[in-house]
């Protein structure tokens, strides 16, 4: 095989695996963003955090939110709820960046997937 093509194919396999790993970490991040409160399921988003924060700044202690199953849920302690969803977001995003940084420096397929 032409050496130039062989090198390109090596790089292409590496790039495909790198892309797979990035998707794997991204999906783990989405899964880690799910937060459970009193039997209700919320996917933590920046929008949810901002909204709760604004309501708290407007001196709202309680709030009704619509969860992932389109069910209304009474949040009785908004301050605590906000702390918990921020914590969920930080944990998920920190895991994501740690995983991402780990593979960023890897130059072989074996190291990318830690075979």
């Amino acid at each position: 095989m032409d050496e130039r093509l062989e090198k390109a194919l090596d790089v292409s396999n590496y790039m495909a695996t790198l892309y797979n790993q990035k998707r794997s970490f991204q999906e783990k991040f989405y899964q880690d963003l799910v937060y459970y409160y009193e039997g209700a399921q919320f996917t933590v988003t920046k929008e949810l955090i901002s909204f709760c924060n604004i309501m708290l700044e407007k001196d709202q202690d309680e709030l009704v939110l619509i969860d992932d199953n389109e069910t209304p849920v009474q949040i009785l302690n908004l301050k605590l709820f906000l702390e918990n969803i921020i914590n969920t977001y930080f944990t998920a995003s920190n895991n994501y960046i740690n995983n991402y940084n780990r593979i960023k420096k890897q130059r072989t397929i074996e190291n990318l997937v830690e075979l």
């Binding site: 495909a16 695996t17 797979n20 999906e27 459970y36 039997g39």
Partner: protein, 300 residues
């Protein structure tokens, strides 16, 4: 969570695939990760006890079933004739074989389950996180997946959105949570009715697959329970259902990390690597899953 909660598995081997091996492996994961008991329903209880001597410790209950009313030496008699379906099982993109697909007991889960709160799982689920524990603490009585994510990324599965081009919304019967309520009893009886009259419903809902699929029967039943409309009889299982198909290969399992060889688009026999960690996944390549389980068991 009630004190009568658990996981229910159906495991019926065919000539090549050992579903009981998967069930045994999954039951151990369930105990370790979810701290829940597991009941397995099988027509090969003797084989299970012979192959896995500690099976009675791993499983909360081992329920033997028979289709024939004449067999009284079992825990559960289905009491009707079994339909035999065959489907193609692949092991990666090159090897494939046609085998018996014994999937027609799932609709009896409500009748068989010894639990008030049941998590019904396929045996080829690799349990890698504890997300399912939230099923038992939420308020809804019936949960199922409608969203899924194929790890290979490029495959277009419109069949996993709707049962057919003009059909109803697709739901996965792979993982279901239900409580023993009157409404759920009606639902499962409806699924059994659909299964008993499969050729009729297959025709009405324009389903092309030649073999019976629980996903389709459950999807149709949900549609009917919703008044032949979109509705909210079924709520969603936590997170997404991640899966690899039988065109992909499960290479190895170590703790909560799995290495997959994913089918490469347009290159038959070639794969790309992916490591997957800490998120539960449905592994459809039964052959490679069983090889990995063997490797894990050897290393214990």
């Amino acid at each position: 969570m009630s004190n009568n909660s658990g996981v229910l598995l159906f495991a019926r081997n065919n000539t090549k695939v050992d579903y009981l091996k998967q069930a045994y492996f999954l039951a151990k994961q369930v105990k370790k990760i979810l701290n829940l008991p597991t009941t397995v329903v099988t027509d090969s209880k003797d084989y299970l006890l012979k192959s896995f001597p500690d099976a009675e410790k791993v499983f909360d209950k081992i329920l033997s079933i028979s289709w024939s009313k004449n067999n009284n030496n079992v825990d559960f008699v289905v009491g009707k004739d079994e339909n035999h379906f065959y489907k193609t099982y692949s092991d990666g993109t090159i090897f494939k074989t046609k085998l018996e697909f014994k999937n027609n007991l799932r609709s009896t889960a409500f009748r068989i389950s010894p639990y008030n709160e049941t998590l019904l799982l396929d045996t080829d689920i690799l349990l890698l996180d504890n997300l399912y524990k939230h099923c038992f603490t939420q308020d809804h009585d019936f949960l199922i997946y409608d969203k899924s994510y194929d790890l290979a990324g490029f495959r277009n599965y419109s069949e996993f959105q709707y049962v057919s081009d003009i059909g109803v919304k697709f739901y996965w019967a792979t993982a279901i949570f239900f409580r023993k309520t009157e409404k759920n009893k009606i639902f499962f009886e409806l699924v059994e009715h659909i299964q008993d009259n499969w050729h009729h419903y297959k025709s009405i809902f324009q389903i092309k697959q030649s073999y019976f699929r629980n996903d389709h029967a459950f999807s149709i039943a949900i549609h009917i329970m919703n008044g032949y409309n979109d509705g909210d009889f079924a709520k969603l299982m936590p997170g997404k259902l991640y899966f690899t198909t039988d065109k992909d290969i499960c290479h190895s399992i170590k703790d909560d990390k799995v290495i997959f060889l994913l089918e490469k688009e347009n290159y038959i026999g070639e794969y790309t690597l992916m490591s997957w960690q800490g998120v539960t996944i449905h592994v459809m390549n039964k052959f490679s899953l069983n090889r990995c389980i063997d490797m894990v068991n050897q290393n214990v």
